[in-house]
């Protein structure tokens, strides 16, 4: 799943490279907009939030719409953005909940695993509207993307550390 050093990867096409490009661009933008001159906790916290959103968004955009979780995440971002102007986000959540109810009712046969699957649904974006099979698929891909995210961010952090 991850690059091994021996693998020669086409940088323009791998998920990792796409994520790196986007995330670095977002970081640059954030730094440009909010230069850290005063490390006040509030500012730092705001930056943290922005960076976190930028990271998730970059990953979601890198995956584009190929995955249910990325689509859900992107729609969440867009609804959040539009929530400032309108109340569209509530519509999306209600859709998810109705679907969720239906699926849960159908899954009573699964027995004791419902609790865990529900937890997983909460963790994976867009998980409410998936059946167990797809949920596991999406979870696998989501884990892969999360590890990519973590690795890249670690790289950047260490680079920044070293560059100080």
């Amino acid at each position: 799943m991850m690059n091994t050093p021996q693998q020669v990867k086409n940088p323009s096409s791998s998920l990792k490279s796409r994520f790196i490009t986007r995330f670095l661009g977002a970081l640059t933008k954030i730094n440009a907009e909010d230069p850290i001159s005063s490390p006040s906790p509030t500012r730092i916290f705001q930056r943290y939030r922005r960076i976190k959103v930028a990271s998730n968004k970059s990953m979601a955009y890198s995956v584009r719409s190929r995955r249910i979780w990325s689509r859900a995440m992107l729609s969440r971002f867009r609804s959040r953005r539009s929530a400032f102007s309108g109340r569209r986000s509530s519509v999306k959540t209600t859709n998810c909940t109705t679907i969720n109810v239906t699926i849960n009712e159908n899954k009573t046969a699964k027995g004791g695993l419902d609790m865990q699957t529900d937890e997983l649904r909460e963790l994976v974006p867009g998980g409410e509207a998936m059946d167990v099979c797809n949920l596991l698929d999406e979870t696998a891909h989501y884990i892969k993307c999360l590890t990519t995210q973590v690795q890249v961010m670690r790289k950047i952090v260490d680079f920044c550390h070293l560059s100080k």
């Binding site: 020669v8 970081l27 640059t28 937890e119 099979c133 884990i143 590890t147 690795q151 790289k155 560059s163």
Partner: protein
């Protein structure tokens, strides 16, 4: 009678052969043949072998069929014809009240089909209709030559139908002898009923199967083979896959009420063990089983040989699963089993993804592990973003570009051996002031002169070092992946940073 029977056997044989090679079997021709088989009285009524022969030869010489002036069977309508034939054959399983028109596909411009269908609907009591069908068959072709033709998927369906007929045999009171003959013929290798030539029949067959769907419980397996899903989904591939599945139904004959195919090759692989046993049981066992087994044998043989020429199957809407032996075979339990297998397969894949969960067994524990891992990853992302928020005040556009460029470049081109540094060394470097420098070979040609305003003794760094180093070390220690990960990407970056940081020390250490 004997002569007729023998002839019929030969004709069928020839017909099957022709079908096996040509894939242009006309359904109507098959209709005629099938009707011949079904109606024992037909032997008496058809004193002339000629119509039957012509019908069979029409099957045989499929390319010539069109040439023979069979206006009713355009070459293009092969599959539809086949489908119709199959449908009609299967229709025999039905009460026989089905109107022929319902079975015939509209695109079929074969008027004889209707007449033939009517034969099927009442096979036992309409010799005149059969005659009519035979007359229709006459029009088909007059080629006495029996050219072996490759079997098209229609054969597989026909095989299925014949097995259906066998089941219906008892119902209709058709003597076993007729079917024995048929099975004998079919078991003959030369019959080459290899429906495995799986040329995907067009969707017409699906619709026909709707009509064909043997409503009887007896034939339920066949109807399941043609499965209601097929009818609903018009999935062409499912039809061709039905035939080998039919063979397995013989095994689980008593149990099988529904049959789904997981994959054609797999089904055929399952069938291969049966032929050996099948050959030994021709006269003793159920004739239909024999016929099916022989067909499967051929099917599997052909399938294995000819899977490549198989045209690309259309995307399947449904997944076909074979009922395992000794397991419940109703559609619900089959679907449930498929679902369970899918889920367990994905759980195994997740087990590979999540580190250190090999010892965990059971879905519940595995799911707990997965949930924990996902949560930890999400927390790590948050933590790292917090670090990024506090750590990188000096990142400018130049830095970003160079960083990304080096990431890409190092990933693709630079060999691993150039970077002897490992995570522990890096942690060491981080722990003890960057100005110490790290003993490493700067494999990256420092053609990119990064103008970092590096100041290891930066007050800001000192302020944050206490805060940040422990976590960094914690991360480095906690995650063994970093060691390998450092190998390609980050090392280059680190070296770049270090190179700028202590140009003197790095240059001294350049190899």
């Amino acid at each position: 009678m004997e002569k007729d029977q023998v002839f019929m056997g030969e004709a069928v044989q020839a017909g099957w052969n022709s079908c096996s090679f040509g894939m242009e079997m006309e359904t109507d021709e098959l209709n005629c043949v099938g009707s011949c088989f079904l109606n024992p009285k037909w032997h008496n009524s058809m004193d002339q072998s000629d119509p039957f022969e012509s019908a069979l030869s029409s099957m045989v010489c499929s390319p010539a069929a069109s040439n023979a002036g069979s206006t009713n069977f355009p070459a293009s309508g092969d599959n539809t014809m086949m489908t119709d034939l199959i449908g009609k054959l299967g229709n025999i399983c039905n009460t026989g009240d089905i109107s022929p028109q319902s079975l015939i596909k509209p695109p079929n411009n074969n008027n004889n089909c209707s007449s033939n269908t009517s034969c099927y609907t009442s096979p036992l009591d309409s010799p005149p209709k059969l005659n009519l069908s035979m007359m229709g068959g006459n029009q088909i072709l007059k080629h006495p030559s029996l050219v072996p033709v490759s079997v098209d998927p229609g054969f597989a369906e026909r095989a299925a139908r014949f097995s259906c007929f066998n089941g219906l045999n008892a119902q209709l009171g058709v003597t076993e002898a007729e079917f024995v003959q048929l099975t004998r013929v079919s078991t003959n290798q030369s019959v080459m009923v290899t429906g495995s030539q799986v040329h995907v029949p067009d969707s017409n067959k699906n619709t026909l199967q709707d009509g064909n769907s043997c409503s009887d419980k007896r034939n339920s397996r066949l109807s399941r083979c043609s499965s209601p899903e097929n009818g609903d989904s018009k999935d062409e591939s499912s039809i061709s896959e039905q035939i080998p599945g039919v063979g397995s139904s013989i095994k689980a004959q008593n149990d099988a009420n529904a049959r789904k195919r997981k994959s054609m090759p797999r089904g055929k692989a399952k069938e291969t063990p049966s032929p050996a046993a099948a050959d030994a049981k021709i006269a003793e066992e159920n004739d239909e089983s024999t016929a099916k087994r022989s067909k499967q044998q051929n099917d599997s043989a052909k399938a294995e040989n000819k899977e490549n020429p198989k045209p690309p199957e259309p995307p399947k809407d449904y997944i076909h699963v074979r009922a395992r032996r000794g397991q419940a075979t109703d559609s619900h339990s089959l679907a449930e089993r498929v679902r369970r297998e899918k889920i367990s397969e994905r759980m195994k894949f997740l087990q590979d993804l999540v580190p250190d969960c090999n010892k965990v067994t059971g879905k519940a524990l595995m799911l707990d592990e997965i949930i924990n891992y996902v949560q930890s990853l999400q927390r790590q992302v948050e933590f790292l973003s917090m670090k990024l928020a506090t750590v990188n005040p000096r990142m400018n556009a130049n830095t970003e570009a160079l960083l990304s460029k080096d990431m890409f470049r190092s990933r693709g081109s630079l060999p691993h051996s150039h970077y002897p540094m490992d995570s522990s060394a890096l942690a060491f470097g981080l722990r003890y002031q960057p100005q110490q420098g790290l003993p490493m070979n700067n494999g990256i040609s420092n053609d990119t002169q990064i103008q970092f305003s590096m100041n290891p003794a930066n007050a800001a760094l000192h302020k944050t070092q206490g805060l940040q180093l422990p976590p960094v070390d914690g991360i480095s220690d906690a995650n063994p992946q970093i060691g390998s990960f450092w190998g390609d990407d980050l090392q280059s970056i680190v070296q770049m940073g270090f190179g700028q940081n202590q140009p003197q020390s790095c240059q001294s250490k350049h190899s």
